[in-house]
């Protein structure tokens, strides 16, 4: 949980000009032009990741990715976009993580191999070394995507590397940094970028557990445009059918995310719009168990599943 002291610390690092108490002043802050001096600097590190979340972040629509990394944040480092390479990168990371280069937020995509540090190395050092050192200097951390938020697919049953979430990593080394988790496999670009806009313009958003409540408060099922089909018992019986996808194994009833109202890829579509059952990719138990396949002709899936409780 984020307490008031953390909140104040966070607000302070975003620039003294930002008001932090009382709704009216928050609203006035939201209307201000963003001051380039106060936008957060991001150090974006990839742990055991597939880069899918980074790719998803580039699909942002409004604001687009270029505006996000120039007007609302400063992307001090990203593996996929930085012109710097090799030793320049190691020097840059050292400058920030040692605290010499000023305030920064850490963004982490991918799980952390707790059981096998050699399974993720940058410049001869395990990723874990960077993350533990950063705990002393960063303003806060954002776990990007399901792997970083919950362990995700690398932590699925059969996990060889001890892959775990960023939160679990910090627990094992007894650190309690300010941490926001934004799950999704991949993460939706809005979930990350709008959280950053909120940080810049207003301050820390309301959190549910460690997730931004604005995006993860309700089940996919509750928001689903096919909820009517569910009530009327109009079910898809086989792949490709329209109707409620519940009988094919849809995990909408177990997964908190606003996909049904937000949609994906500039609002083009989303899984259930394409008749594809939700596979629970933003859920803490995404893909976790071998004996709980994505596609099940099961009536019983709504209870006793490894999904989230309301």
């Amino acid at each position: 949980m984020i307490n008031r002291r953390d909140f104040l610390k966070l607000a302070a690092c975003l620039g003294a000009s930002l008001p932090i108490a009382g709704l009216p002043s928050m609203v006035s802050a939201a209307l201000k032009t963003v001051d380039p001096k106060s936008v957060p600097k991001l150090i974006y590190l990839q742990a055991q990741s597939c880069t899918g979340c980074s790719v998803s972040l580039l699909q942002a629509e409004a604001p687009g990715a270029v505006a996000m990394i120039t007007q609302y944040s400063k992307l001090a480092y990203h593996q996929d976009l930085s012109a710097a390479s090799g030793k320049q990168v190691l020097d840059l990371l050292d400058a920030y993580i040692s605290g010499k280069a000023g305030d920064y937020f850490l963004a982490v995509e991918g799980s952390i191999p707790l059981g096998m540090p050699e399974a993720c190395v940058i410049g001869k050092k395990p990723i874990a070394d960077y993350l533990s050192a950063a705990a002393e200097t960063m303003s806060g951390a954002v776990a990007i995507g399901t792997c970083s938020s919950y362990g995700g697919i690398p932590a699925a049953e059969g996990n060889l590397t001890g892959a775990a979430s960023l939160n679990d990593f910090y627990k094992t080394i007894n650190k309690k940094p300010l941490l926001i988790s934004i799950p999704g496999c991949p993460v939706h670009p809005d979930w990350v970028w709008k959280t950053i806009v909120h940080l810049v313009k207003i301050g820390l958003p309301e959190l549910k557990d460690t997730r931004p409540a604005a995006f993860f408060s309700r089940k996919v099922h509750e928001l689903c445009p096919r909820y009517h089909d569910f009530q009327q018992e109009i079910f898809a019986e086989k792949l490709g059918d329209k109707g409620c996808l519940f009988k094919l194994g849809c995990l909408g009833p177990d997964t908190c995310a606003d996909c049904p109202t937000r949609w994906w890829n500039s609002g083009q579509t989303w899984c259930i719009d394409a008749n594809a059952p939700c596979i629970g990719c933003a859920s803490p138990m995404f893909a976790a168990k071998k004996d709980f396949p994505f596609y099940r002709n099961a009536e019983a899936s709504i209870s006793g599943t490894p999904g989230e409780k309301s």
Partner: protein, 503 residues
């Protein structure tokens, strides 16, 4: 003198290259994949239909290629009859993903190696994207902050394009290409459900019916992408090639080439493809023999046996194994080291006279650049072959969309057999991609992926022969051994994906 040039940025994942440089020549190079997850182990015992979902998470840049390869493998294992629409939808999804990936690779991943980003500081025009970028860069440079104008600066020392028009145009297209990439991804998401990581792709088809609403949206989006490819991507690429002609002779790999062929014309497993498959060894094309593929691990961090064929593959991680320097295995073909990817794909097709448009384009661009087709094995050759692929794929997709029968089936009924096995072969944007599935008791009994960057960024094999990228680096002259922009350009011409390579 040993110098690590990693972490090499602007590629997918965790790659270091340990180089030895003497008298400004790279005399040795070791390609080191530095991140491991273990997909082939956590797929064991799962429901086979989980595979095309799980394997997409190998790579978030080319997830659809994995979904398609897995679907092909499952179709073979289930002896599934794929409806014509199902195959077309697979093609529409996978082809659009190629188009996006080529643009991402040229503009976001590679262009900053050639284009002078500082040219923006003197921009005098009125384009809104560019004036905003100029003001932002100038403000950052004057602010006294740490690492100003990141992520676009700092950069490696070296020679960049000096022509202002080329620089400014490419920077404008750097920004614009992001919008075009989104259109390509919207097109594939229509049938895939979302990008990255589509939920709508299944063996034999997709869940979204190809009605006229969906088809017309798809075509409109791909037409915009095609326009950008012809009017911006190709001219920008040729301008860079014109400024750096020496890179037609830099970065040759020293082995053979292989392509599994891309985008089948029909639903049958042996249907001809838009780009034809084959192995190119000693100047001769031969059919791909899957039995010839083995994976060596003497220099890879696994204690499982070396030299195993695909269906017998094993995976036991050994992070402290003596002498091993990479998490990437070393696949070989009858013992030969091969390059895969755009140059392999185009050379293999061109030399057997497969696709007529490929032949025309290669001959035309070879004429413009005054090169021989063999020089496609080079830094610029790989870039050009992506553009050639993009041109033929975009036309193919628009034509395929016309072949859809909206009232015909688009996904078959899937029954998972008690036992079965199958290979799935396709071309990811980065090259030859193989999935193998074996099923027992209705569950996955064995799963293997041999992925493009596994070939290209492989360490030495058990005979000590370097991998394709290693061989392309050895012998290269570098002006500044500490930074090696020349080596960086070679590495990025392969568009490595390390999450794929190790998986």
């Amino acid at each position: 003198m040993e110098i690590d040039i990693g972490p090499v940025t602007r590629l997918e994942g965790h790659l270091n290259i340990n180089t030895t440089v003497e008298n400004n020549i790279i005399t040795d190079a070791k390609s080191m994949g530095e991140m491991f997850r273990g997909f082939e182990v956590f797929l064991l015992g799962r429901d086979p239909l989980d595979a095309q979902q799980i394997t997409q998470r190998i790579c978030g840049v080319c997830p659809y290629a994995h979904a398609i390869a897995s679907s092909y493998a499952q179709e073979a294992a289930y002896q599934l009859r794929t409806p014509p629409n199902g195959r077309i939808l697979h093609n529409l999804i996978q082809g659009a993903n190629h188009l996006y990936d080529y643009l991402l690779h040229f503009y976001q991943l590679s262009a900053l190696d050639f284009i002078d980003v500082t040219a923006i500081t003197g921009y005098t025009g009125k384009d809104q994207d560019l004036t905003q970028l100029r003001d932002w860069v100038n403000h950052a440079l004057g602010s006294g902050e740490s690492h100003p104008a990141a992520p676009f600066l700092p950069r490696l020392s070296g020679t960049y394009v000096t022509d202002t028009d080329i620089n400014i145009t490419a920077l404008k297209h750097y920004v614009e290409s992001l919008e075009i990439q989104k259109k390509a991804n919207r097109a594939s998401a229509i049938f895939g459900g979302k990008f990255p990581h589509a939920t709508g792709i299944f063996p034999g088809g997709c869940t979204r019916p190809p009605d006229i609403d969906a088809i017309s949206s798809y075509q409109a989006l791909i037409r915009d992408v095609k326009h950008f490819i012809h009017n911006k991507y190709l001219p920008d690429l040729l301008a860079v090639a014109g400024a750096f002609p020496e890179y037609w002779n830099i970065g040759q790999s020293k082995g053979g080439f292989m392509s599994y062929g891309l985008l089948p014309f029909g639903p049958e497993p042996d249907s001809p493809r838009l780009l034809s498959p084959g192995v190119l060894l000693d100047g001769k094309i031969e059919p791909v023999k899957l039995d010839a593929i083995t994976e060596d691990v003497q220099f890879a961090k696994y204690s499982s046996p070396s030299g195993l064929k695909v269906a017998q593959g094993r995976l036991t991680p050994a992070p402290h194994k003596k002498g091993a320097y990479s998490w990437v295995k070393a696949p070989r073909y009858d013992g030969h080291m091969l390059e895969v990817g755009p140059a392999a794909r185009i050379l293999v097709d061109y030399l057997q006279g497969g696709n007529k448009t490929v032949k025309q384009l290669v001959d035309r661009f070879a004429g413009i650049a005054d090169i021989r087709p063999e020089q496609l094995n080079s830094v610029l050759g790989r870039h050009l072959c992506r553009a050639v692929s993009a041109v033929v794929i975009a036309d193919f997709l628009l034509d395929q969309a016309e072949q859809i029968n909206p009232s015909a089936p688009f996904i078959p009924e899937i029954k998972i057999p008690e036992a079965g096995e199958g290979f799935g072969l396709t071309e990811a944007s980065r090259g030859a991609l193989l999935h193998y599935i074996r099923i027992k008791n209705h569950k996955i009994d064995h799963y293997e992926c041999v992925v493009p960057t596994t070939w290209n960024c492989s360490p030495r094999d058990d005979n000590g022969t370097p991998g394709a990228l290693e061989s392309a680096l050895i012998g290269t002259w570098v002006e500044n051994p500490g930074q090696q922009i020349e080596a960086n350009r070679i590495v990025r011409s392969f568009d490595p994906c390390l999450a794929c390579a190790v998986h």
